[in-house]
Symmetry: C2
Subunit: 189 residues, 2 copies
């Protein structure tokens, strides 16, 4: 009886180990360095073991991405009375997450993995994150077009995040860009 429990526990631990290691390699050497051989080597098992936990490499990065959504949501929680301040805090949280965990962010948004979106079943954590964005946008502007406003806000944040990660924006002016964004959003009725 208890034996099976121990096995399942150990299996779960190894599951975690795989995800943590994949994430660590990706964050330090990039996703290209995350190969099944290297990953298996790092966790001190052979490659086929990976396939007893995940259907393939894609599923591994998808799992890392999925956990990322949860963390992103955490980074977006900001209780502020002032709508503008809240919007700024949320934007800052978003960009900080993307800057701190670039590989995870890439897995979530730029590497199109096998994660289904938008249609039927977006992952719940993503819906939660989007909801926080919507709340922040809705707090500062009015009701109408709230969904589109949120999509636009998200697009801007995503653009800033990716172009910053690709080193295509002046790093010295990040704060200025963010301030401009908040100004533009709050100036509109």
């Amino acid at each position: 009886m208890a034996i099976q429990q121990r096995r399942e526990r150990q299996r779960a631990e190894r599951h975690r180990l795989i995800l943590d290691t994949a994430r660590e390699i990706a964050e330090t050497e990039g996703w290209d360095a995350v190969t099944t051989r290297r990953l298996a080597d790092r966790i001190e098992y052979s490659q086929p073991v990976l396939y007893s936990h995940f259907a393939g490499k894609d599923e591994i990065v998808a799992a890392v991405a999925l956990e990322g959504f949860g963390e992103l949501t955490d980074s977006l929680r900001a209780e502020r009375a002032d709508p503008a301040a809240r919007l700024a805090a949320v934007a800052h949280g978003y960009l900080r997450f993307a800057a701190t965990h670039p590989a995870v962010y890439a897995a979530m948004f730029t590497m199109d993995t096998a994660l289904t979106f938008a249609d039927a079943e977006s992952p719940e954590p993503l819906r939660a994150a989007f909801g926080l964005l919507r709340d922040a946008v809705g707090g500062s502007t009015g009701e109408p077009d709230l969904e589109s406003r949120t999509e636009l806000f998200w697009s801007t944040l995503h653009g800033l995040a990716t172009l910053t990660a690709a080193n295509r924006l002046r790093p010295t002016h990040a704060k200025e860009r963010l301030a401009l964004l908040i100004t533009q959003l709050t100036a509109t009725t």
Copy 2:
């Protein structure tokens, strides 16, 4: 004498053929389908021929991307008197380019190729495209923070382009998002 010219001309033609074919495969089957073997097969030469034109696969996609910058610049030319209309036209042109040539757009911005940026030597065509964006932004708003305003505008367009390509925004509301963007930009002093 003239023979050498013919050879150089044929070489140039093959150079073009490689780029066009790579682009075509990428646009129809995705960049993953652009392998050196398939590419060589399609142009009816062996793989090593590719390496007599380009140092490696990365350079091929970089070359495709470079040409894309020129085309993007063309898509951004819009002579309009009204600043707001001009801004809208530029934004529309940008998004239309991204939507029409998703693979080329990906090569330009999301697949970080061996193209140097921002620092010393950004490719000239990219500077030109960015200049057009700046002109459009500068025409509708004032002088101050023009560079940052342009970067922010670009980030929004890039975010819209990539999230749209990834099917993460409601396709039915593209126009609405664009209208909102213009409103927000022109409302600010």
